[in-house]
Symmetry: C2
Subunit: 204 residues, 2 copies
Amino acid sequence: MLLCAPMPKLDFWYEFASTYSYLSAMRVEDLAREAGVEVRWRPFLLGPLLKRQGWTTSPFVEQKEKGRYMIRDMERICEARDLAFQMPEPFPQNGLYAARAALIGEDEGWAGRFSRLVFTEQFTGAMQLDDKTALGTCLTAIGLDGDALLARAEDAEIKQRLRTQTGDAQALGLFGAPTFLTEDNEMFWGDDRLEQAIAWAINK
Amino acid sequence: MLLCAPMPKLDFWYEFASTYSYLSAMRVEDLAREAGVEVRWRPFLLGPLLKRQGWTTSPFVEQKEKGRYMIRDMERICEARDLAFQMPEPFPQNGLYAARAALIGEDEGWAGRFSRLVFTEQFTGAMQLDDKTALGTCLTAIGLDGDALLARAEDAEIKQRLRTQTGDAQALGLFGAPTFLTEDNEMFWGDDRLEQAIAWAINK
């Protein structure tokens, strides 16, 4: 007899402009697959959440020492993981268009592939995150119709969905990215907590 | 022939009121010993550094969602490490007197023992951090003359040393606690980075 239990799910909430979201985006799928966990990609905009916390830009910009440290921390981790890394200029970039496109990918199952490529391009200095032509090139590179999808990403429905998704993030108590949420609403914040989040998703 | 190289050193900068400093204080000595690294205990006051970043209290108080998450994160980690944990009331507590006493311990070699006991008492709800009687009891419990040390901790020289040490933390670019600094000034922030800091101390 086969016991077919549904795979445990893990929501991966990420912001395209976020350096630590880049780290998690590049490994979440592999780690989850090994553990038998299904990843749900949940792009959202961190800006509105930071604004409600009283920030007008990234904490890494407002707190210079923390910002300097973050770059060094990213350099060390990326070197250890054999990932390229270059700080985007300016930082943070604008993730609005990328997040809208990724929302379509969330429905159609290509959010992970698209997001990894956009993160890689952004954090190797190959593209500005809000460059629609470059985003279209990323979509085309993974075998999709870039022009058609970019047009769809401008539909009022998609715009509203991103607002709703960002509102959901707020309602769930998110305050940063990446954040992992298990099905029983256990929250794990930061790339450092990814292994712990997957272990929780399996054991509960 | 014996090669007697000096042990690599790791500076452990901590604030008594900080929850994540508690986590590191309880394990830094053991991890460092196993790796052949010498720990230098560096108590300082985080408040003045936060104030320069524009905070008037702990970020965990100013950012409610982050504060709520931190408590849950601490609960999970302490459970996994078999450490007791109870949030102090009020939070953050005032670490001034504990830090002054620990500075004397820095010279005399008992800063670690004293700090671990004070952290444990504070984070199990057994003492208010600014309770001098309770601090004296901690000193006595590790075999020292509590009354005499508490009196010395009020000397102008010790008061000035804590101001200097906190100024040093600022000058070194610290922005939070715990922070680990290797001899070649590589900075690692947060209990999550302790293993990485020790590895760096050994290999550089």
